[in-house]
């Protein structure tokens, strides 16, 4: 979804007219024009969306293109919005992907197959909307866009109400009605063809529905959206495009609104955009600069190449912010203050996350410039780190050798603690990961074992993690201690890895997959199971510990017909341990991908695990000869619990484990 | 056995008890807890605390009474003393009007001190009793367990104390004088209550046994004195419990030890001997059986402590062990597992003991 700011901007921009427009907009082609395409001139400050001003097919008369460029105050973002595929800064392949999808699904309209849905994701400002707009224009179809209606509480004028029925005093226009309106919009957009007005081109009866704003209700109850989508999938006649911006600050919009199962169910195609590559960004910026230089005639100062590079990197692949910064920086009266832009001369920060995507095994020198300390004073985005990268930084802990002179020497008896200079600041890494220190430590805990080779080291590391948890144990002081705890965890982990103590001895551990922490799930299950045990077996009047460690495990060994089905199921699930099947089967390792926002969608995860658990359980039962848990089995039937010799079981496990990791 | 209602501040529940006993008391004569029954009736009966008794006696003879601060370990007669004195001063009728008793269980925030204490203190009183005898023209406010008052409440008290000094005397009672703020202690005459000497205690207990018709062995009474550590209330409470549990039978030493939750010294000594001489495995078994017997680790720790202090180890060894003891005590207070903690303590003792040999 859009970032908050632009969402607000859009909402206010469309304040008056947008509410009914989606449904009836086509009736007033004259009104629609200025809103979607040309209103940028009227409300320059409010409309900040990059390139969204791609002329709407209906309104876009060729002359419009020149007209706004004459206005000096217009944001460059609007002025230089792409008009063709060539102008798009998005990677060619992605554009092609979207284009293919659009063409296929636009053309199948005749043979009625139901609505098809495309989901575009990617960081903000990477050109998702622009791509759709441009392609739609080139494919000659209309884009019909949903805008969130305003809630009546915020309206002061009565015009809105009069639009409906001035006599009926309906108040309490609730948010659900936004959902209703959305549904209505989809239905109408789907059902009614564009009214053929005089002068309209005949060909444009193809259309795409574009949804970028989601009614708030959907975030609270994604189920509503899914229901609407399901009905749309049945009845829809034109392609529907959703655009959701990811952001690493834990905005899990796309996962919340479009969970995997729904995506599969409705055959939603998902195309994920990457941040704009620095080279294309450079190209774009230089183009704008040259054009600007040609037209402005001295009104703007032209920034030199290094400034452009800086802008380029500071924006971390966000075209919109880059162009905005460019415009700001090239204003004459500000240009004297060049130093602001180059606060740290000599070091040109490579945008952290772009750097990562380019190559995993980067040379040390580029790592060098990658120090987190550098940032732009104005206009730069916070160089936030994706969790994957942040974890990598701590776990790989790059070091550099000291200059011979400055190297502090530890006395001989402490020499084992001698470490080379760290190339990173752990606290900053954690801060930039946009996660609580506690959660970050959990991620570290899940993954650190792979990076250690020595048992002593790992013992020390685990001790530091334990220390960190202990520091935050006291409830009353937790807020203060949290930071220290994180420091202890990260720095302790880095320090204790003696294999990576020296810059030159940093043998390449190679790429190790990172995984999401199991602990949250495990502790949740632990609590749930304990709770379930107590409520199911309350009639035994036992305290929890003896219930869980004595009664239940033995109940599993006995065959006692007095239990009800829920109890039987629980005993089967909990009181039995998979003694002879692979122990890790319950906990699938969930690989952490490079762009994972790092928050755990516990619900969905839980469901998945439950399923996998169920299957694991079934497998376990079917492989076990004579399952001891079967409560129906007669009393006389001897219940043998197969007990494999330990070594065998372990060997088996080891093999399987290794396999598992590799497959990840 | 009724002593359970009372606990450390035996007088505290008096007001409620009277109320509560109302309906049920008519149905059946409730046994009175012995701690109440044998509480000293007059100052002369107070055992073992000569200085206080002297001061209070003077005041009984007509001298003014200072503000008092009684401190000392529990069960040494602090509350009993002031109550006995007050009863003598005012007689049974005036007693309830003239004495206000507040303890830690009562709401005793700063607000209460301000209102309840002030209101009571502001009542003026006459200098004679209903029966014509003279009585001192002041009231007494007893603040039991004063060390659990917040500092703010204590601070609020000092002003009240000075302002009402014409009509009111305060008696603060606490276990630790260090927890009373300086301004308050300086306004009071302090009296330290010493733990009762064994013979005094024994005498009292024998006295009670006689009156209650209890059969006892000499060892049982000595054991009572020993486990109660100079706390007479505890001793009397235990005595009543044992008497109740045993019915008509004779009270024995083991019964006393059982009721007090004390680990028989045989077991503790055995454990220590294993630590000094035995192997780790034997120690493990010994600790396990101690826990299985249900003894509380804190109790075991206390008794090991006493034994270690007297043991023939050098100072360095003792300090290393007691250091570990402090740690174990803290861990136990935090809720750590008793078995593991005792094991780790015993492991340290073992290690230290082996160093000397």
């Amino acid at each position: 979804m859009m970032s908050k700011l632009s969402l607000g901007g859009k909402a206010s921009a469309s304040k008056l007219s947008s509410w009914v427009e989606p449904a009836f907009g086509e009736l007033f082609p004259g009104r629609r024009g200025p809103r979607s395409g040309g209103d940028s001139g009227d409300k320059p400050a409010k409309r900040r969306r990059v390139k969204s001003s791609a002329p709407n097919p209906e309104s876009g008369s060729p002359s419009r293109r020149q007209a706004p460029r004459g206005e000096p105050d217009e944001p460059w973002v609007e002025r230089y919005a792409p008009r063709s595929q060539a102008e798009l800064a998005v990677h060619k392949k992605k554009v092609e992907e979207v284009e293919t999808w659009l063409t296929t699904h636009l053309d199948t309209k005749a043979s009625f197959k139901g609505g098809t849905v495309l989901l575009l994701t990617g960081p903000s400002g990477c050109g998702k909307t622009a791509t759709v707009q441009v392609l739609a224009k080139e494919l000659d179809c209309r884009v019909q866009e949903w805008c969130n209606p305003n809630l009546p509480e915020y309206r002061t004028d009565d015009s809105f109400r009069q639009m409906f029925d001035p006599d009926s005093r309906f108040n309490g226009f609730q948010s659900t009605s936004q959902t209703g309106a959305f549904q209505d919009f989809l239905l109408r957009a789907n059902k009614y063809n564009h009214l053929q007005m005089k002068g309209d081109s005949q060909a444009s009866d193809r259309k795409v529905i574009l949804v970028e704003d989601f009614p708030n209700q959907f975030y609270r109850q994604p189920g509503c959206l899914h229901d609407i989508l399901r009905s749309f999938a049945r009845t829809g006649r034109c392609p529907l495009v959703f655009i959701v911006s990811d952001s690493q600050s834990g905005d899990r919009g796309s996962r919340l609104l479009f969970p995997k199962d729904v995506q599969d169910e409705l055959a939603i195609s998902n195309i994920s955009f990457n941040p704009v590559a620095p080279t294309s960004m450079m190209k774009l910026l230089s183009r704008i600069v040259t054009m600007e230089a040609g037209t402005s005639g001295g009104r703007v100062s032209i920034p030199d190449k290094s400034v452009l590079e800086q802008l380029c990197s500071g924006s971390s692949g966000d075209v919109r912010s880059a162009i905005n910064s460019l415009q700001f920086s090239s204003l004459n009266d500000l240009s004297l203050d060049k130093s602001l832009w180059t606060l740290k001369k000599g070091k040109i920060p490579a945008p952290s996350r772009k750097g990562f995507m380019k190559a995993k095994g980067k040379s040390k020198s580029s790592q060098n410039t990658d120090m987190l300390g550098d940032s732009q004073a104005i206009g730069g985005k916070d160089a936030s780190l994706f969790l994957f990268r942040a974890l990598g930084k701590i776990l790989y802990c790059k070091r550099e050798t000291f200059e011979a002179a400055e190297a502090p020497r530890l006395p001989a008896h402490l020499s084992e603690h001698q470490r080379d200079k760290l190339l990173l600041d752990p606290e900053l890494v954690v801060e930039r990961s946009h996660m609580s220190g506690e959660l970050f430590s959990l991620y570290l805990q899940q993954n650190y074992t792979d990076f250690f080779s020595d048992v002593d080291d790992i013992a020390r590391a685990s001790e530091y993690l334990s220390d960190a948890d202990f520091l935050t144990a006291e409830w009353s002081s937790r807020t203060t201690m949290l930071e220290y705890g994180t420091s202890v965890a990260t720095r302790g982990l880095i320090h204790s890895n003696s294999a990576r103590a020296k810059a030159d001895s940093q043998s390449s551990v190679g790429f190790r997959p990172l995984h999401k922490p199991h602990w949250l799930l495990v502790s949740k299950k632990h609590k749930e199971n304990c709770h379930a045990a107590q409520s199911l077996f309350i009639s035994f009047c036992l305290n929890p510990v003896s219930l869980q460690t004595e009664l239940l495990p033995y109940l599993a060994k006995l065959s006692n017909p007095m239990r009800n089905p829920a109890q039987i199921a629980f005993i089967q699930d909990v009181a039995h341990l998979p003694l002879n099947i692979f122990s890790g089967s319950r906990l699938r390792l969930e690989a952490l991908t490079d762009k994972d926002p790092g928050l755990i969608d516990t619900d969905s995860e839980n469901e998945e695990t439950l399923q996998s658990e169920a299957t694991a359980e079934n497998e376990g039962l079917s492989t076990e000869p004579g399952p001891a848990s079967s409560p129906d089995a007669g009393v006389d039937l001897p219940m043998s619990q197969p007990q494999p010799t330990t070594t065998e079981a372990l060997l088996e496990e080891e093999d399987l484990l290794i396999e598992e990791y590799e497959s990840d | 056995m009724q002593a359970f209602l009372k606990g450390s501040s035996s007088q505290s529940t008096k007001p409620q008890k009277i109320k509560a006993a109302g309906p049920s008391g008519e149905k059946k004569q409730r046994p009175i807890p012995w701690v109440e029954k044998y509480r000293p009736k007059c100052v002369d009966e107070v055992a073992f605390q000569e200085e206080v008794v002297a001061v209070l006696k003077k005041s009984l003879e007509g001298a003014d009474l200072p503000n008092l601060l009684f401190y000392g370990p529990p069960g040494t007669g602090k509350t009993s003393t002031i109550l006995a004195a007050a009863r003598e001063l005012y007689g049974p009728e005036l007693f309830r009007q003239r004495v206000l008793e507040l303890n830690a269980s009562d709401e005793r925030g700063i607000q209460v001190v301000r209102e309840k204490v002030k209101n009571f203190a502001q009542l003026t009183v006459a200098g004679s009793r209903a029966d014509g005898k003279p009585c001192p023209p002041f009231k007494i406010i007893i603040l039991d367990e004063a060390d659990s008052m917040t500092n703010a409440a204590q601070a609020a008290l000092r002003r009240t104390m000075e302002k009402e000094s014409r009509t009111t005397r305060f008696c603060l009672i606490c276990n630790y004088v260090s927890r009373i703020i300086e301004p308050l202690t300086s306004r009071c005459s302090k009296f330290r209550f010493r733990p009762l000497a064994n013979d005094v205690q024994e005498e009292r207990l024998l006295n009670i046994c006689e009156k209650e018709n209890i059969k006892y062995t000499k060892e049982a009474i000595q054991a009572l004195v020993k486990v109660s550590d100079g706390d007479l209330r505890k001793a009397i409470t235990f005595l009543q419990s044992v008497a109740r549990l045993n019915g008509e039978k004779e009270i024995t030493e083991s019964a006393v030890i059982e009721i007090a939750g004390v680990v028989p010294s045989k077991l503790v000594d055995g454990l220590l001997q294993i630590c000094y001489k035995g192997t780790f495995d034997k120690m493990e078994i010994a600790v396990k059986s101690l826990i299985d017997e249900g003894y509380a680790a804190t109790q075991v720790l206390n008794q090991i402590h006493d034994a270690i202090i007297d043991a023939s180890l050098n100072d360095k060894q003792k300090s290393a062990i007691t250091d570990k003891m402090a740690e174990v005590d803290k861990c136990l207070a935090d809720g750590a597992d008793e078995y593991l903690q005792l094991m780790s303590l015993c492991a340290v003792i073992m290690q230290q003991a082996s160093q000397s040999s």
Binding site: F452, S462, Q548 | -
Partner: protein, 356 residues
């Protein structure tokens, strides 16, 4: 068909199988008329609960055995709703206040107030008080214990408390001094054997004494466990034989395997596997402190002299942390890693000494 543990549970003080002396004392107590608050403590499986139920029966007659499970919801002053299950008869109420977590104080106050204020339904019972049975008092917060102390005094006239816990270490002194403490030790091996023999006789089974003894020893004198084991033996094989293998619970076997895994190899890779196993145990409702205790017992049997002392120290240290910390896995894992390091060093040193 109920479990043997329940089926042959003694129902009166006179029928208790062991600690007869104590049973008599309790009888005396009941006959005395006035009944103090009780604090019953002892290890798990010693028969505390059985004793208490017998006592209640002695107090009120058979009526206490008519139990009903009630689901109470209590609203805290902070408007927070607390749900808790209670077991009640007409004369008593049993609750485990630690179920309510940090709101245990409110639960205690409200429940006792309700019980104390509701008047006795039947005048036929000779008692003018009801009993509130609080289990796991040692797991109460300090706050709740202080509140309990006050509540005990306040409702003394209509309500008696029986507190039940494993150890008095975690019960604050003011509460201990207000209660008559009753210690219930574990039955001796012989006592366990005789109980087992009795139960088997009633079931019409032949129990060889060797097997009874084995069960008693293996159960660690925990009578509940012994009876469950015995019943499991019955399911496994009948007629019994003296050398019969006694079935262990899955988690104990699993824990043993885990300990073996730790001893047989010390590497980061192995630590990861052990972690997976720990997670498995946790999801199967095994409390972390039980896991660490079980591991220690197994590991200790695998090492020598001074290493044992070191391991015992470590275990105590990390178990303490476990109690205080938020995430048990950190501490469990640190314990395992630490053990691995020590053990590996020990083995290597041993090897060196051997070679030179």
């Amino acid at each position: 068909m109920s479990l043997w543990v329940d089926k042959y549970r003694p129902t009166s003080l006179g029928k208790l199988d062991y600690h007869r002396e104590q049973a008599n004392q309790l009888k005396n107590l009941v006959q005395c008329g006035d009944f103090p608050h009780l604090l019953v403590y002892g290890p798990s499986g010693a028969g505390k609960k059985t004793r208490i139920v017998c006592l209640l029966r002695e107090l009120y007659g058979a009526g206490v055995e008519k139990l009903r499970i009630e689901h109470q919801s209590i609203t805290a002053p902070s408007k927070k709703k607390i749900e808790i299950d209670t077991i009640a008869s007409n004369y008593h109420l049993e609750v485990n206040p630690s179920d309510a977590g940090n709101s245990d104080r409110v639960v205690i106050q409200e429940l006792i107030k309700t019980v104390a204020q509701s008047q006795q339904i039947q005048s036929s019972t000779q008692r003018e008080f009801k009993v509130v049975l609080l289990t796991e008092v040692d797991r109460l917060t300090k706050d709740a214990q202080h509140a309990l102390r006050r509540t005990m005094e306040k409702y003394m006239s209509t309500c008696r408390l029986i507190l039940c816990c494993n150890s008095t270490s975690k019960v604050i002194a003011p509460i201990r001094s207000r209660c008559l403490a009753v210690r219930v030790p574990l039955p001796s091996v012989e006592e366990v054997c005789s109980v087992l023999a009795n139960v088997c006789k009633k079931e019409g089974l032949q129990l060889p004494p060797e097997l009874a003894r084995q069960i008693a020893e293996k159960s660690g004198r925990n009578l509940r466990k012994a009876l469950l084991m015995c019943e499991a033996c019955r399911v496994q094989q009948y007629p019994f034989s003296g050398e019969q293998e006694i079935p262990e619970t899955d988690w104990e076997v699993y824990l043993k395997e885990t300990a073996n895994a730790i001893v047989s190899q010390q590497s980061p890779q192995r630590l990861l596997e052990v972690r997976a196993r720990l997670y498995e145990l946790l999801t199967h409702c095994i409390p972390p402190e039980i896991i660490i205790k079980g591991l220690v017992t197994e590991l200790l049997s695998n090492c020598d002299g001074h290493l044992k002392a070191e391991v015992a120290q470590m275990a105590a240290f990390y178990e303490h942390r476990l109690q205080l910390g938020n995430k048990a896995i950190y501490h469990l894992e640190a314990f395992v890693a630490k053990f691995m390091a020590i053990y590996k060093k020990f083995m290597e040193d041993g090897l060196d000494n051997f070679m030179f």
